[in-house]
């Protein structure tokens, strides 16, 4: 089995040094993080902070009232949303909508279908969430976000190194290989490396960075092997369900280490696909934010 190795700091540096003018995430996220580490912070304080930005408030309320969460009664205030869903979930919603917002502004290069890309990303988020639930994790939103952002490096490459990325897209088309293989051949690094670098630059958690950076090589994720393995298999499930497209037509190679780390049997696939499909359909509310 061929597992992509770490590109080493030099090769990655040579590529990312050419990425200029990356968007920043709203300052609100670091303020939320600051408040959340204080055990005395109340729901009202976080709600006040979020409510100070009407655009983010409206997005949070749209997501919490969508079928993704499926509450029977309408949630009309951020405070109410925090009480029902908890700090972590609300922070995850703010984070994901902010990242969509930051990246939607960048211009796509010719040949890469962003709409299909985001559908695949949301599908992978949903399938990762389903897997995490099956494995008994409680912080399910973290896994949704890790899946949602697993291919974010492709957007960075598409937006900021369009000529190189066009060569990658052309190679995928000509050779019918995976994006991963084409990126390694053209750039010497892959979208997972670049995605991990981007999330690190945005000061996101190491767990999230590793899950994204190692979603094609979970065995290299160290203590975050299991989260990376969940996203690795979540990606496979979304591809098997044909939800959108990450830009290629071939399945990547399964990491045996990842599969063993999850400790589930292949007889779980019918149920996982059924749950992943339902969850992905509900999660498509996030697609509005990518437009």
């Amino acid at each position: 089995m061929t597992i992509p190795s770490s590109p080493g700091p030099d090769r990655l540096r040579r590529v990312v040094d050419r990425i200029q003018g990356l968007p920043t995430l709203p300052a609100m996220l670091s303020s939320i993080n600051r408040l959340m580490v204080n055990p005395r912070t109340s729901a009202k304080e976080i709600a006040q902070l979020i409510s100070s930005d009407p655009a983010i408030t409206s997005k949070v309320l749209r997501v919490v009232n969508s079928s993704f969460y499926g509450f029977p009664n309408r949630i009309s205030t951020v405070t109410h949303a925090i009480v029902i869903l908890g700090f972590n979930t609300i922070r995850s919603i703010v984070l994901s909508t902010s990242i969509f917002d930051a990246l939607r502004k960048s211009q796509p290069a010719h040949g890469f279908d962003r709409a299909a890309f985001w559908r695949h990303s949301i599908g992978t988020g949903a399938c990762s969430r389903v897997l995490a639930r099956k494995l008994g994790y409680t912080a399910l939103e973290e896994f949704f976000i890790a899946g949602l952002l697993h291919d974010v490096g492709k957007i960075a490459l598409d937006s900021y190194l369009p000529e190189d990325f066009a060569k990658v897209v052309a190679k995928v088309k000509d050779s019918d290989c995976t994006m991963l293989v084409a990126e390694e051949a053209v750039l010497g690094v892959n979208h997972a490396d670049v995605g991990g670098w981007l999330l690190q630059k945005w000061s996101l958690s190491q767990g999230l960075v590793d899950a994204v950076a190692r979603h094609h090589s979970p065995a290299l994720a160290g203590e975050n092997l299991k989260p990376a393995a969940i996203v690795h298999v979540g990606d496979m499930l979304a591809r098997a369900l044909q939800i959108g497209s990450g830009g290629d037509r071939r399945m990547p190679v399964l990491s045996e280490e990842a599969w063993s780390a999850l400790g589930i049997g292949a007889d779980s696939f019918p149920a996982l696909l059924a749950e992943g499909s339902d969850e992905a359909e509900r999660a498509m509310v996030f697609l509005e934010f990518a437009r």
Partner: protein, 107 residues
């Protein structure tokens, strides 16, 4: 993405957004090519208008179609798994996904 009244939608056009009925049921996936059969289904479900992808029929090169036809979906799946089916876990995933398509359960 222009919204086309249903009487202006024609086979060969491609949907820009998923088409759902009044009950929220998905009728056509985003990026799907409108066929005569799909058009008939939309009319019978009284869908008034459809978001159509500007630039018309073909998707950007190098990216797969959203496959709505079960035979095409099965073919795309077989192609995707061709080089990894030697692995028993991937083979099981392929078989489970194929079975969903054959049973008409699609995302």
């Amino acid at each position: 993405m222009p919204l086309y009244p249903i009487d202006k939608v024609a086979p060969g056009m491609r949907t820009a957004t998923p088409v759902v009925d009044a009950g929220g049921m998905l009728l056509v996936r985003e990026g799907a090519e409108i066929t005569a059969e799909i058009l008939e289904r939309l009319r019978s479900r009284k869908i008034p208008a459809v978001d159509i992808l500007v630039g018309g029929g073909q998707p950007p090169s190098g990216t797969p179609l959203s496959v709505t036809d079960p035979d095409a979906a099965l073919a795309a799946l077989a192609h995707a798994f061709e080089s990894v089916n030697g692995n028993p876990v991937m083979k099981a995933l392929y078989e489970a996904a194929s079975e969903r398509i054959r049973a008409g359960r699609r995302p």
